[in-house]
């Protein structure tokens, strides 16, 4: 069975939990004591991932690290419809890859600010991280605004959400824990609400289900 090495409060691990839930993949979870145990820096874990980072999966004898890489693997292996990662569509594949890299930049900024403010990471430059996150949120907000103008619901063209949406969602949604308000990004907020209504959506600490009142207003 597929095994996910997981930490409940990690947005990158949450990306994988979302994908597994959307695709309804049977799996087991190995909870790693990230804080305060620092188990991800233990010799046993470093043998699994020398970068000392979560998430990691084990599946059919293979070990894979990096949230974005795992998303690609899961979609390619378990999404028989090819919805989340359309293997035969070069244009959309390119766009998805572009936003996966963008999601990594969100991790390097919004997630860093959250770790600084929330979890003892006092050695990082949280002001620079916040500034960087705001630049990215502005870009994504504008992109989503123009998507809405042509009735495009998701980050990449098509009727269905893709890996791009999963990869960008967690650290956008957790940004306030790092002191990054989303008040100036209305299109980003609307996209977050749409994301929460994808069938199979699951929550994590800090992220709630969409309210019932909003549900009616999106029809």
């Amino acid at each position: 069975m597929l095994k996910l090495y997981d930490y409940e409060l990690s947005g990158n691990c949450y990306k994988i939990r979302l994908m597994l839930s959307f695709l309804d993949v049977v799996h087991s979870i190995e909870s790693v004591d990230f804080y305060p145990g620092a188990q991800h820096k233990s010799p046993a874990f470093l043998r699994l991932n020398p970068m000392g980072q979560l998430p990691v999966i084990e599946d059919a004898g293979m070990v894979l690290r990096d949230a974005q890489a795992i998303l690609i693997y899961l979609a390619a292996r378990y999404d028989s419809q090819g919805v989340w990662f359309p293997r035969d569509d070069p244009v959309r594949l390119g766009q998805i890859a572009q936003w996966l890299a963008f999601a990594d930049s969100i991790t390097a900024t919004a997630s860093v600010a959250r770790l600084h403010d929330g979890l003892l990471y006092s050695h990082v430059d949280s002001e620079a991280a916040r500034l960087g996150a705001h630049k990215l949120f502005r870009i994504l907000d504008e992109h989503l605004y123009f998507c809405e103008q042509v009735e495009q619901t998701w980050i990449c063209p098509g009727d269905q959400p893709t890996l791009a949406d999963i990869a960008c969602f967690p650290y956008v949604m957790l940004s306030e824990e790092g002191g990054i308000s989303r008040i100036d990004y209305p299109a980003l907020r609307r996209w977050c609400d749409r994301f929460k209504r994808i069938p199979g959506f699951v929550v994590m600490p800090g992220i709630f289900h969409a309210g019932p009142g909003l549900e009616a207003s999106t029809v």
Partner: protein, 286 residues
């Protein structure tokens, strides 16, 4: 006038937990802020701990697995948690987590049972079990603390060791303006209570570090399971706390409209007012 001179003397002379001893094994020198003053905590050469500002060393003591310090001259010892020394208890540092809100807002959230079914759905509460039944609140003059007793709430999964839903008994103590202790029915011993304490370190008036200490009767769960349970709960509280405005707690009784379930919060606000606390609050107009 420096910031510290403007802080009310009651707040200045209190003890504050500022670092978990466990965390000093992870990070040698813990830098943080106490009442707008940057501080650092580390081990000293003799194996003890030291805490200092840029300019001067601060008093330190070790209690409940944490380093405590003060910017002033504490008049008393850190409040007592007698259960901590019982030999069969598991004393665990669950986490230190930073939150963008004031210390008093965080204490009030800790005292509130009304949010359980909505914020901690499936764990500390579940609809339709939403009623906060009447409970008792008193201020102990002798111990100078607020005590709420006879708090009963139905919980689907009250602790890491729970296997099913149960009516759970709570007792709350607020022995310090920015610290609170919760006693709740132990899932494995019906005569004794689990202890969950939150020690807040106000970094600024609108930013805290919450140090969470557990003292449990649980022989089965691992430390990691116990911590994760508490971290999940606190992670769920975080966005709620960070979205309360104003971030400072208004002490004017007319500023916010309480319901009967908020009895303990009403007592807490009055107690802060009577003490003359001005840090992290909006004082009532004289």
């Amino acid at each position: 006038m420096t910031v510290i001179d403007s802080i009310d003397p009651v707040v200045r002379d209190l003890w504050y937990a500022v670092a978990a001893l466990d965390d000093l094994d992870l990070i040698d020198v813990q830098e943080s802020v106490l009442l707008d003053t940057p501080i650092n905590v580390c081990h000293d050469t003799s194996g003890g701990v030291q805490c200092r500002t840029e300019l001067r060393p601060l008093p330190v003591c070790e209690r409940y697995g944490y380093v405590w310090t003060s910017l002033g001259s504490p008049q008393t010892d850190v409040f007592s948690i007698p259960e901590y020394v019982e030999p069969d208890r598991r004393n665990i540092h669950a986490a230190t987590i930073g939150v963008h809100t004031s210390a008093p807002r965080t204490i009030e959230n800790f005292l509130d049972m009304g949010h359980f079914p909505y914020v901690h759905t499936g764990i500390l509460g579940a609809e339709p079990h939403t009623e906060v039944r009447d409970y008792n609140v008193e201020v102990s003059v002798e111990r100078d603390e607020i005590v709420a007793t006879n708090c009963l709430f139905w919980q689907p999964m009250a602790a890491a060791a729970s296997s099913s839903g149960a009516d759970v008994d709570y007792i709350y103590r607020v022995p310090h303006p920015y610290c609170a202790i919760l006693y709740k029915s132990s899932p494995i011993d019906d005569k004794r209570l689990d202890v969950i304490a939150v020690f807040l370190q106000p970094e600024t008036q609108e930013q805290v570090r919450a140090h969470m200490m557990l003292s449990l009767l649980d022989e089965a769960s691992t430390d990691h399971q116990i911590r994760l349970f508490q971290q999940t709960i606190f992670g769920q509280d975080k966005p709620i706390l960070e979205n309360q405005f104003p971030k400072r707690l208004p002490l004017d009784p007319r500023a916010e409209t309480p319901i009967r379930a908020d009895k303990s919060a009403i007592a807490y606000r009055r107690w802060l007012s009577d003490k003359g606390i001005t840090y992290g609050v909006i004082p009532a107009a004289a």
